[in-house]
């Protein structure tokens, strides 16, 4: 039913979005790529000679790079583990009949709406502080030694804080998936004598598999970019204990003013994120056809 006229009108309607996104993507990307091959430091004025792969070489061989990669891996992996397993559990619990389900759900979802700088600071000071924190108080009530979270286990502390923020996201999506589950099928299985464990592994889990994949992929994209929580709690320290790839690029470009080095790090971050993105896009694309 689309006529030639409506087609050309459609093209005009779409073009502003396309042009803007193209500009937003291509221009900075090209510049990042270009800078990454220059010796370019804002503190050293003068010409910026082409140095080939030098920035990449120095960025990758710096010991803080391997630290940052390991930290990124632990951060993303740890948070994914906590939020997906916790999310599945919470979604199953929320799906049971209970009183005041609406209010409970609101409490569970709330952390997702807290801005990252607030979560970081509130957890660091009010919860995890070894002297005045609530967790230290709980430890002392049980006669235990309070944990010095950011002194002894800084990376794990950040994993916990960010997990707190993303658990609601996983829960909400998995709960939505669970609600579309065929109840009669479950009841039939139960009547046929399938145990709870069997029902979970053979009916519920396969039904949620798609949503779990989506949760994992989307969270990975966002978690690779974890920044504010680290900035307000540890500044990447002590040493490089909590520096992830994003934070390392921030340090080299905006704190050390090394544009070339920061750009090389940026390109590496883009490549990493793209590996995940390809899988995510394939999943979303499949759904678009359906």
């Amino acid at each position: 039913m689309a006529t030639k006229a409506s087609r050309s009108a459609a093209r005009w309607m779409i073009s502003p979005s396309v042009v803007l996104l193209l500009g937003w993507m291509i221009v900075p990307l090209a510049l990042t790529l270009y800078f990454s091959f220059l010796r370019y430091n804002l503190l050293m004025p003068g010409d910026n000679p082409f140095v080939g792969w030098e920035n990449y070489y120095w960025f990758v061989t710096d010991p803080s790079f391997s630290d940052a990669m390991v930290n990124t891996l632990i951060l993303v992996g740890g948070i994914l583990l906590i939020t997906t397993i916790g999310g599945i559990g919470l979604a199953l619990l929320l799906d049971r009949p209970m009183f005041g389900q609406g209010i409970i759900r609101i409490m569970v979802i709330a952390p997702f709406f807290v801005m990252p700088t607030v979560s970081g600071l509130v957890w660091k000071n009010m919860m995890m502080n070894p002297v005045n924190g609530v967790l230290a108080w709980i430890a002392s009530v049980f006669g235990a030694q309070p944990v010095d979270f950011f002194g002894d286990i800084p990376l794990l502390s950040i994993v916990l804080i960010v997990s707190w923020m993303w658990l609601p996201f996983a829960t909400l999506i998995l709960f939505t998936a669970l609600q579309s589950m065929d109840q009669e099928q479950l009841e039939a299985a139960e009547m046929d004598g399938a145990s709870w464990v069997n029902r979970f592994f053979y009916l519920i889990l396969p039904h949620m598999a798609r949503s779990i994949t989506v949760v994992v992929l989307i969270q990975t994209i966002f978690l690779l970019a974890t920044f504010a929580e680290i900035l307000v709690t540890t500044n990447g320290g002590p040493g490089t204990a909590t520096t992830n790839l994003t934070y390392l690029v921030y340090v080299s470009s905006l704190l050390q003013y090394d544009v070339g080095m920061g750009s090389a790090g940026g390109v590496i971050a883009i490549i990493l994120a793209n590996i995940v993105a390809i899988f995510l896009m394939r999943m979303i694309g499949k759904n678009l056809d359906a």
Binding site: A10, P16, G100, A110, L121, E184, V214, A269, I284, G285
Partner: protein, 277 residues
Amino acid sequence: MARAVSFNKKLVNTLIVGLIGFLIFFPILWILILAFKTENDAIKAPLEVLFNTGWTLESFTTVQGRSDYFKHFSNSVIISVGSTLLGLLIAVPAAWAMAFVPGKNTRNLLMWMLSTKMLPPVGVLVPIYLIFRDLSLLDTRTGLVIVLTLMNLPIIVWMLYTYFREIPGEILEAARMDGASLKDEVLYVLAPMAIPGMASTVLLNIILAWNEAFWTLNLTSANAAPLTAFIASYSSPEGLFYAKLSAASIMAIAPILIMGWFSQKQLVRGLTFGAVK
């Protein structure tokens, strides 16, 4: 549920899940309480704080007095609402055209738009920072509105597209055949069906823009700093600050918490790009 569930079972479920919900919600509840205490009371043991201290509004006035809180609050409002409305203005025609006049390339175009969202912000931090420096957009609200509009544009287009696609084209044709003018068609047929979807898109995007904490932290210092950046200034505090931090935090998250509770369903749809409904 077809089966009747016994009262006791329901009660046990409520207690277990309610306790977990309470624990997850606790940090927010705790700052809500500390915000109404004096600094000296706020660092006391939790039970003491709860049962042995008075209530005061002192922290809220201190926070405002120390560094013009409402300036940062209004920055947040302007940046999040501004970027959302600007994004909507650009995205509505695009989503509309893709939903009602789909072509061969619509699918690829949508996927490509989505892929720009997968770009890690840190990958373009350096060029954006330098471009902003040269255009003197650093620490301006205009600059942040531009960045956040572009950042969220793919999500806005996608959400609107999935909503518009659910509007049956036949209704429009029927209206046209019944003699509705273009104005009538848009006003009385399209708008009522499109507005709910647009409203949820706006809501979700204001939330995302309000909480955005990469660009807002890196591109602002004092003038244009929204609440994300203002709160970050408490990471190097002077003296006792628990009550002040709580008061500032509560004011920063309250509007978004309330909006968020209204948009739970749309949140799933928006953040999974329609992959989970």
